[in-house]
Symmetry: C3
Subunit: 371 residues, 3 copies
């Protein structure tokens, strides 16, 4: 039995925003990469991006280039995009299909799709050289509910331990079988934390998102996860079928949802890089990629039930465009916040009771950073 | 009674240019921001830019964004462009008109034009929250002779003490009532000190400004302020009515000038950021905005007597274009100097007797920096 | 009698590539500038670029701008592009012709082409000022075999000592009298050492340069200089007259070559910045200009016998285009290597026996850096 709270119920009076250096300092940014991003399980994307054996995409994550592929046995694997000979990048395209091997373009060293070195011209004459010692560097990988998670640590916390609060939470939504209709990349001139804070409150909805606020009242939210790495809850859909430009549902239901879930959108922010938004007729997810203290790349992708594709009542753009507009409104506010906190005059300001979750996000962040 | 000197009379033999690090070092640049720019009264512009209640412009100064406005009582005020809630930038336009309030676009916190917080949605439920404690952060401001001066220090030196040598110096020129005909922004790839040094000597005029040197001989200058934050004097206009492309005066006299002042241009450099050039028929002023050790933004604005506007003999472009050409010639020399001093081979070189004022500028600069 | 070795014969088993920081660290890059580039004789270009008195070009080298000219006595000289007065850059064009003097554009200080200060307006009134004390700063210069070498050190090693292994090596190729037909500049997003490593092996030729590998087999190389600042040897031309798109020779022989040299290309990498490639019918040379740990500018120039110019069988583009294509293939591999070694997963990898010279280059580099 899930317990929900209005944000006001969980708000700690006196909560204030983070101080200025957390949005500007190169040292703190380096500390975040070290203490958060290269130690945590982060979301790399959804399995529907590489449906067949040999399919791959290349992910730029925390200054690393990572090849994510489906091998000959249809197993999903991830490798650093670094040849073991002279360190050369092997894949240049953002995505594609391998025909059984990965070959480095420089000196033609060749690897099987499970990462083994199977060809190294003229190396047989080198005493003590053993191909088995030079596989591609693998990246820790775990697929959960169709989402591919990676961990760059040498001894990662077990995924199931880290994600325990979410493990069986979304089973009604058919996440593993959904298919992507669209992916949009945004270049946001703001610190990644502004994006999390923005996602976690609807206090800004009336001034920033008049369209959204009309069909999903900003005071309708209730949260069940209210502290720690995963926080969120739902908001109501009122006077509309879903969050779309037309107000109508735009696809078949993603799953066999409880009746109340047809009038709800569930929003969960999952540290360190995933925002998961479950609508009755589609699932939207954002992954956030910090580039510097003042810049973040955001991937946004929309997933639908595979049966929806090709049907006459499938209008994915109706939901995609609704959120593309809303996303851009949000990034703009994040960018204005970045500009403002760079002032010497900025001081932490008071959160309102509707900002219980941003305050909880900040608390968890500080707890990790001060470990 | 003002005493004037030829530059040669005040030249200290053996004066040499500054050493290389003053034009290149990020540490020295940070020291300048700290010891000079955020402690001194600097010029933000002229009151004619915001004639009516509600008018505002946004100034980018030393990495701060500052809103300068005329409030409902026609009083000029300056505020940091930072909402007290989450630090968001509130004004995005370079200039405009407020209708009675400033509202933050993110969560709609609202301020009156004198900076008071008058609206903060849903904050009434927060115990201990008092709107009176969250006014906009004000910037110290003083209007002198129509020029708006700001000071970012917490305990600024009184303006009248800092500007004592200039206080009553320019009363004949009607500075408070002049009106602007044009403002041009220049992006100069040079250290800000090169711009001051360039302004303070006409040794370069024959090779760099043949047009100017013809109607204002480079050896005609005499200076009355020869040391400290304010230095300058006049040069003669010969064989022309004013400094214009045509050689004719281009507007009504700016004030009731002494007869000799109709054949003179007065040039004063006012640390840390103002260059004030008083012609018989117009006043030109530059404000200098250091961006990095190797880049400066320069605003140049031309002011005329309000009675000139609309008259048949009003040809402001005749003076504006004359100086736009001359400005660009100067910036080019500043940029070549920046390139040159970056060489490991550069050594401080000998100033000539015509460069008494650049040497005095350097001396005052070093005195402030070594305090 | 020159002794040649197959690369395999000089390969030290167990050689590995350099570690990651050598390609990324700003500190190491600064150390390279200090310990290598500003202490060594580096190649600035070929004398054929400034054939007549007054001809000059401006070289950007290791953050210095250097004027290289032929003076009134046809002697080649080099000066820092820095006026002795206020440090201003004097020459803005990349190349041109002086009419007897160099004049600074800012205050018209004037120098003869041998660097003497011969004009300094109004300085005669300064006690103790002596023009003889303010010549242009000269750069150490030595012309060897038509190539102009510079050294930025205050007490450079004698050129003939530093270049002893090469001094009389290339006399058959008429290097001092050759004329340039083309110069191409490349902007390579890679560390300069990748370019040297790439030049010094043909293990990459089959996958990267199919055209080249066809007429100059990748296993045909033999080297005579196998350690130290100068390394290289020859590769054979087979089934073609020279390295050209058509496979035909494209110009008259550059010199009276031994019969075997008509079927050979000699390749020598000369630390710190020259790659010298001697073909029967043309000489190509690269000079490498490090800009940052991750960027290098490369100049490539093609020299021909002066008698070739104007002849019906002179087709310089046939050789130039062949190498322009090959150059770009190489830079691309260097750029992929730069991307790859930036990964935290990169570890030094094993060189193959065909990479004896890159291993020797790395060894010499480390020896100089660890001095």
């Amino acid at each position: 039995m899930v317990t929900f709270f209005k944000p006001e119920q969980t708000f700690l009076t006196g909560s204030k925003t983070l101080s200025r250096e957390y949005y500007l300092s190169l040292e703190i940014f380096a500390g975040e990469i070290e203490q958060i991003f290269t130690r945590s399980w982060f979301c790399a994307g959804h399995v529907s991006r590489i449906p067949s054996a040999g399919d791959y995409f290349v992910l730029d994550a925390y200054a690393e280039s990572i090849i994510i592929l489906r091998d000959q046995n249809r197993e999903i694997r991830a490798f650093y995009n670094v040849c073991r000979h002279r360190g050369t990048h092997m894949c240049e395209e953002a995505e594609g299909k391998f025909s059984k091997t990965i070959q480095c373009p420089y000196h033609a060293w060749t690897y099987s799709l499970d990462g083994k070195l199977i060809g190294a011209p003229l190396m047989k004459d080198v005493a003590d050289f053993n191909k088995d010692e030079y596989p591609l560097h693998a990246v820790n990988l775990h697929v959960w509910q169709g989402f591919i998670f990676l961990n760059l640590s040498k001894s990662p916390e077990p995924f199931k331990h880290a994600f325990e609060p979410l493990l069986n939470k979304f089973e009604g939504w058919n996440l593993p079988i959904l298919k992507s209709a669209r992916r949009i990349l945004y270049d946001v001139k703001a610190n990644w934390k502004f994006i999390f804070q923005n996602y976690n409150e609807c206090y800004h909805c009336p001034p920033v998102h008049p369209q959204l606020a009309k069909i999903s009242p900003s005071n309708s939210g209730e949260n069940d996860l209210i502290a720690g790495p995963f926080i969120g809850g739902f908001m109501s859909i009122e006077g509309a079928g879903s969050l779309t430009l037309s107000g109508n549902v735009c696809a078949a239901p993603v799953g066999e949802l409880a009746e109340e879930d047809h009038q709800r959108v569930y929003y969960y922010s999952c540290s360190p890089n995933l925002l998961l938004s479950l609508h009755p007729d589609y699932v939207m997810f954002h992954t956030i990629w910090p580039q510097s203290p003042t810049q973040s790349i955001v991937h946004c992708e929309w997933l639908f039930h595979p049966d929806s594709f090709g049907r006459a009542d499938f209008h994915p753009e109706d939901g995609i465009e609704f959120w593309d507009i809303t996303n851009r409104q949000d990034w703009h506010m994040c960018e204005l916040s970045q500009l403002g906190v760079s002032s010497r005059a900025y001081q932490p300001g008071p959160y309102s009771p509707r900002e219980a979750l941003p305050a909880a996000f900040d608390n968890y962040y500080l707890q990790i950073m001060n470990k």
